[in-house]
């Protein structure tokens, strides 16, 4: 996607966020019942920030047209989408699903081993290379699971999830 186009979408989202913040600050409880000074209402700074963000969003929207004239600058180019997708998916599954559902040791061991295997498995390699990759990933998984559990539970006295 071109940066100018992405900036335009972002400007719209930021404008909505700024307007929401402004409205949130305006409608926020003014604590009259506690007889606070009107200049110290909790919504004051959120209102200012919402207004400022909306102004910046407008300026960003306008600047995106000037940027488009200067030349096509693209975002999210030069990297690997598949690596990014796999990384995001495995990390999210670990942090949002496995942690809290499985015991910390097993969640960490499974995540580490799967992540390492996904990125180090030699699909076109010999059986020996494949076996080494699998063994390495499993060993890393168990090592990190055991080591980090030991460190945090025994040394830092953290009740693991």
């Amino acid at each position: 996607m071109l940066m100018a186009k992405a900036d335009r979408y972002t400007a719209v989202a930021l404008l909505a966020l700024g307007a929401a913040m402004l409205a949130g600050g305006w409608t926020m409880d003014r604590l009259e019942i506690r007889q606070i000074h009107p200049a110290s209402i909790p919504g004051l700074v959120p209102m200012i920030l919402g207004g400022l963000l909306a102004v910046c969003a407008g300026l960003l929207f306008r600047a995106s047209y000037a940027d488009a004239k200067r030349g096509p600058e693209a975002i999210m180019v030069g990297g690997s989408w598949s690596r990014l997708g796999i990384t995001t998916a495995t990390c999210l599954v670990y942090a949002l699903v496995l942690i809290g559902w499985a015991s910390y040791f097993w969640a960490t061991a499974i995540f580490t081993a799967v992540f390492a295997l996904l990125f180090s498995y030699p699909a076109g390699g010999s059986s020996r290379e494949k076996a080494i990759a699998v063994a390495g990933a499993v060993m890393l998984g168990f090592g990190i699971g055991f080591g980090s559990a030991l460190l945090f539970e025994r040394l830092f006295l953290v009740r693991l999830p």
Binding site: M3, A39, I41, L53, S80, L84, T87, T108, F115, F156
Partner: protein
Amino acid sequence: MSGLQDLVAGLTMVMTPGMLFHAAWSTLLGIVVGSLPGLTATMGVALMTTLTYSLESEAAILVLICMYVGAIYGGSRSAILLNIPGTPASAATSLDGYPLARAGRAGYAMGLATVGSALGTLAGIVMLVMIAPPLAEAALNFGSFEFFWLAVFGILISGQLTADTTPLKGYIAGILGLMAAMIGSEGIHAHVRFSMGISDLNAGIALIPAMVGAFGFAEVLTAMWNKAGVLAVAKDKSDRTIPEFHDLWRYRVTILRSGVIGTLVGIIPGVGEDIGAWGSYAAAKRASKEADKFGTGSHEGLIAAETGNSAVVPGSLIPAITLAVPGSASSAVLIAALFIHGIRPGPLIMIEQPHFVGLIGAMLVVATLFMAIYGLSMTRLFIQVLRVPYAYLMPVVFVLCVIGTYALSQRLFDVWVMVAFGLIGFVLRQMKYPMAPLVLGIILGDLLDKSLRRGLTLTDGDLLPFFMRPVSAIFVALIVLSILFNVPPFRRAVTAPLRRIGRRRDA
């Protein structure tokens, strides 16, 4: 001179076997973290904060400072050998470091980087112990008005100087950080704002999960997205790691200038090491008789960049300790870590703990010492570190992001915050929004909010004292000038006399 006396007293406290042991391992770990592209100093310090909860406060702070110093220096390894800066601070280093490595002089380049970094940090330490105590005393006279403008100035200047393309994106990042700080119970009436019915949000967004997400998880994603660099392993027979003395003596003015520039850049809130390196590099190039060699393997350029970025470390601690306003993203984490360990940075530090600045200076000296020893003796080890595949490294980093964040308050909500900030941070980075103003916004949001409303209450809603008190007026002038500097006609008018002087000098 009491600053230097405190430094000597601090050294006697730090020079114990236990403290030296902590300094030794944490500096080495810092260099390893910094040398790996994708792992930055801020991430290292944030993760290390989660690993030092159970240590004594002095030992924990020593570990974090050694990690910070080591990581900023370590970034030069991959900048020189891979042409990929290990940390953003080393981007300028790669300009001359990589050509030297390609010419078979990688060892010498790393030696120069080591000595430059060590001298830069030492220059910054001297300025830290000299400037911090009087600054803290001056800040004792600050009221709500001054603190409000200080927070505004910090976010504004950070947004302006750290943005890649347009300052507007820096400002937006700063405002987003401030907005994140508005979530949760506010500091004057304890009213809960924007919690959306989620009780975990009542206390607001904690800094460490946000930082670990924005600098840890986002960096894991960035590292896996990017392609790996090519290691420059050519070796010339004349290559050596210890720099020649005449090379250093020849560039003594460059070293001194870069040390001062780096430290001053460090003092500016939320600006950071990369600007220190670029500023020093540009100044050295402008003043050099060998300006044409810059970018092709210039020893002077390499020394300037490394001295500049390392001097930012002590420089950034000056406002962090005395005003609780971080000079860089890493020092923002350090402020959070200081609070965790029961130390309250801010103007009262010189009253509550008058020797603290000297102690921090001493910790920096010890970190520099270990950095120099490792840098000059372990060149081969660091080349091996760069060969560790991301497939094995990144899951370990992410596990530490998760469990380190969880360990802070032992609640899964912090892990979700970390993940959210990681995803948002990655997208914002790809769209060239700087992270430093965002972080600064989160840390300064409470100060800005309380100072404005407290000041308005004191003046019964009158805005005039915000502009008329002397220090406030200076801040307002600086803020107006820095905004106007973005307007091309104003900038041209201001810089025209300087350009004329430059042309006359060249002629």
